[in-house]
Amino acid sequence: MIEERAFFIDYARCIGCQSCVQACAECDTHRGRSLIHLETIDRHDSVQTAPQVCMHCENPVCAQVCPADAIKQTPDGVVQSSLKPRCIGCSNCVLACPFGVPRYFGEIDQMMKCDMCYDRTSTGKRPMCATVCPSQALAFITLDEFRRTRGGTAINEWRFGDHPVRTKVYLVVPPETPPLLQIQGLGSARPSGAFDRNDVAAWLEQG
């Protein structure tokens, strides 16, 4: 039996090249529209970027808040784009998703979102973004392969305030990170006076 492959996101690997964004728009089910998000955290401070695919929650918030019951899950847990005949374009899902994934497209009056390239994964291919990703910040591999080849910890349990969320997609975090990510609004900024490793001037002044 072949172990099922899972989706991993590793922000430490991301180089911000936007291959995922460009390739997402080439996926057959929504060609011409890119559904992945690539966040530039703060270009003035850092080159850090962070890709965001749909995390495919076990009990998806987007579907829970949909008044038209337009967002369905496949039997294997992939949360799909809204059903066109049902979607009323209210954007409840867009506002409710803790990961900011669904997008409302006004020109077609419909919410569309990452469906982990269901047309590809259901036929044994990898999702488009994870296939092309030059840094493999987006990786579609088995958990066993992950444990053999990657140093970080893969987590898929979150708590947004009091709300627990378990996701099909894993986030790779440093090994010492606790296995459940608690998200409590915006974290505090780096303490002032600490070495800012993103500031080239700081590198020049050390030593």
Partner: protein, 740 residues
């Protein structure tokens, strides 16, 4: 009379760049593609495998090619969107002739080729054979590169042929030849994975060789420590073990300083040095004065960082050096590379698994295109145009008297200078856009305007082709067939995917036709690119870059073959220098002692800031192709001037303000991008754009004395806040050199 026939906005309106946003056949293709062709990306030296989908003789999309071993399906944004060049509204579909005051008008192939041949012979009769020059490119296949070298020497009979690899790989090539005796990456990329420490010097891997990123991160997962040397914190530098924000031009300080510490701490391989090298005493003597403190003053980084780098590199059991244009684009580019490679040889860590060295080749066929004889100083097989034995062998292959092969000609920058001062009167170019890519842009464009006759072969009307008298519509990579040689030294096969559109022709047919009109038809009687490759195999045989054992069939069966491969039963050579056997006749590596020296133009009170130039991930070289692809233009529409907040504050500039960047030679006006990720004494502008957005308006026309690479990485500028430009060019689209 080579001048743009009408004003620039009129030319842009007629010939672009315009952006293509929608694939041939639209976003929703009806039914399955007619075929899916396994081939390679046309852009950088990594030459990633990709599958192109074809319907009705048009490329309508792509599919990753996960079986190709180098990239396993991975692609950068340029690779993903490259197929949008097909069915492009700017595509040149028929030969054109310049009509003064009216633009470019269609003519027949007969008229265009006839006039070109007549002008070549007129100019040569009037001014001498070398007064007509040929400029070529490193995006050409091996077959075309071979053909161009032969065409210049046998059909045109000029010494003056050179190529745009002169802006790319020549410093690395010269250094590699001096120390190792062979000009090629020493190792396949797979050796990166078992390196304990990786030194990345002047290589913005994330943006210029994106697929290499995964090799670095895989090595890191296995425990590798990574050092990055760059004036900017590039995307890979963000998370590496040691980042060294070197002062532009200070690299030798770091390398010699590291070697000084390695000697002091006993981290050199004496046994290897004794058995396999020459020249060590001179190197040891030279670096004796490069104490961390002395080296620090040259490098512009704290001495402690140089010591840390030596502590990571010195005692490792396996290691890999990668370098690219960041250390090579200097008037001391060769010396920078030599100093870096000395670190590899002194460690003895070369020619084994996980131990090695690679230059990161920039252009698509940057490796192969310099081996097949289109450099002014080389004949096929990476042979020397001044070596009597080499000349004799190639004369035999070509069936011409040895004495008829011209001697060494001018390299690209001196060649443009010779056009400027009237020694060269005519030019044929293919796949080269010097109006954007050469330094001191105003001088270069002035030179182009002085040509008596200029004919160009290309698929889009590049900024340089606007100066042409005759425009010959050639072929995109996927419209022709042939081989390239990737950064690894792996010879791979680009399949023909579609036919050229309209009356456009495969480049090799154009060249063979022209050769026939110059009276050399019998030497250019090729019926296919495969026949050209068969001659190339023989021409390269016995040379350093020996392709004799490589066939197209073998390439397809084996996912590429690494040269040297002298015989059909030879397995090819993925890793050079195994057993400490180097390419020089004595079998040894030749250490080269290197002293630091200043740049051609250092800063002063009038021009107090260093301008350094480079690339962004969504654009490629002079942008002839990538500035025509909408999705890539949208990703990074126009160049910005990166500067540190401290510098910005001292200049009174806020993020997004327009700034004028001005050197002694010219200026550009772009928006400022205020970021902490660059040295406060340096600004960065990427060079892919023309006109008032061209970084090369500022760069200095200074070249390395050995490699003749221009000093793109250092010139002195002043930067001032500027009002938004309001001239006609500024109102063009950003893809044409205007502003978004």
């Amino acid at each position: 009379m080579a001048r743009p026939p009408v004003d620039i906005p009129s030319l842009v309106a007629a010939w672009g760049p315009h952006v293509n946003r929608v694939p041939a056949g639209g976003w929703t293709t009806e039914g399955e593609p007619d075929r899916v062709v396994q081939t390679h990306c046309c852009f950088c030296g990594q030459q990633c495998g990709i599958q192109l989908k074809v319907k009705h003789n048009q490329v309508v999309g792509f599919e990753p090619w996960e079986d190709f071993p180098f990239n396993r399906g991975k692609l950068c944004p340029k690779g993903v969107r490259r197929y949008l060049q097909n069915g492009h509204p700017d595509r040149l579909l028929e030969p054109l002739e310049r009509v003064d005051g009216r633009g470019f008008q269609p003519v027949t192939w007969e008229a265009a080729l006839g006039r070109t041949a007549a002008e070549i012979r007129r100019i040569q009769a009037q001014y001498g054979p070398d007064a007509f020059a040929v400029l070529t490119g490193a995006s050409l296949t091996n077959e075309k590169a071979y053909l161009m070298g032969k065409f210049a020497r046998v059909a045109v009979r000029t010494a003056n042929i050179d190529y745009n690899g002169r802006l790319c790989m020549v410093s690395a090539a010269a250094a590699s030849k001096k120390i190792f005796g062979i000009d090629r990456a020493a190792n396949p990329w797979s050796d990166l994975l078992s390196a304990e420490v990786i030194l990345v010097a002047g290589a913005n891997v994330a943006e210029c060789a994106p697929i290499t990123t995964d090799y670095l991160w895989e090595a890191r997962e296995r425990g590798a420590r990574i050092i990055v040397i760059d004036p900017r914190m590039t995307p890979i530098a963000r998370t590496v073990d040691l980042f060294m924000p070197v002062r532009p031009g200070g690299d030798i300080g770091i390398f010699n300083g590291m070697l000084h510490v390695m000697i002091e701490r006993g981290w050199i391989d004496r046994a290897f040095i004794d058995a396999h090298t020459t020249g060590w005493p001179a190197v040891a003597e030279t670096v004796a004065k490069y104490t961390p403190e002395y080296a620090s003053r040259i490098a512009g980084v704290p001495a402690s960082l140089i010591v840390k780098a030596a502590e990571l590199w010195g005692p490792a059991r396996t290691s890999f050096l990668l370098h690219a244009r960041g250390i090579e684009h200097h008037s001391k580019g060769v010396d920078n590379c030599l100093a870096a490679i000395n670190l590899v040889v002194a460690s003895g860590r070369i020619g084994r698994e996980g131990c090695g060295y690679a230059m990161i080749t920039g252009q698509g066929n940057g490796q192969g295109a310099r081996e097949q004889g289109q450099k002014c100083d080389q004949l096929p097989g990476a042979r020397d145009v001044e070596n009597p034995e080499h000349r004799h062998y190639i004369a035999g292959v070509w069936g011409v008297p040895e004495s008829s092969i011209p001697h060494k000609g001018l390299s690209a920058v001196p060649l443009l200078e010779a056009i400027h001062d009237g020694r060269i009167k005519g030019l044929l170019s293919i796949c080269f856009n010097p109006a954007v890519s050469l330094p001191d842009g105003h001088f270069i464009r002035e030179a182009l305007g002085r040509l008596e006759f200029y004919a160009g072969i290309d698929f889009f009307l590049s900024e340089t082709m606007r100066y042409a008298d005759v425009v010959l519509p050639g072929s995109l990579m996927e419209e022709d067939e042939g081989t390239t040689t990737s950064a690894e030294g792996r010879v791979i096969h680009h399949k023909k995917v579609v036919d050229p559109p309209g009356a456009a022709r495969e480049d090799w047919r154009i060249i063979c036709d022209l050769a026939a009109r110059l009276g050399a038809g019998d030497k250019f009687a090729f019926r296919s690119p495969r026949e050209i490759f068969e001659e190339l195999r023989v021409a390269s045989h016995g040379g350093v870059a020996d392709y004799h054992g490589i066939t197209w069939d073998r390439i397809d069966r084996e996912h590429g073959v690494f040269w040297p491969c002298p015989e059909p039963d030879h397995p090819g050579t993925p890793r050079l220098y195994e057993g400490g056997r180097f390419g020089h006749p004595d079998g040894r590596a030749h250490f080269q002692a290197v002293e630091w020296r200043p740049a051609a133009e250092e800063t002063d009170d009038a021009y107090p800031i260093v301008l350094t130039t480079g690339r962004v991930v969504s654009q490629y070289l002079s942008g002839t192709q990538t500035r025509r692809i909408g999705a890539l233009v949208d990703q990074y529409p126009e160049p910005r001037c990166e500067m540190h907040p401290r510098l910005a504050a001292s200049l009174g500039v806020a993020d997004g303000d327009f700034v004028r960047v001005e050197s002694r030679r010219g200026a550009l006006v772009v928006r400022a991008l205020v970021v902490k990720t660059i040295r406060p004494d340096t600004v960065f502008v990427p060079y892919h754009w023309p006109l008032g957005r061209s970084a090369n308006n500022c760069t200095v026309r200074a070249i390395d004395p050995v490699s003749h690479i221009p000093e793109f990485k250092i010139c002195a500028v002043r930067v001032t806040k500027a009002p938004p430009p309001d001239d006609a060019e500024a109102h063009l689209g950003p893809e044409a050199g205007g502003l978004a």
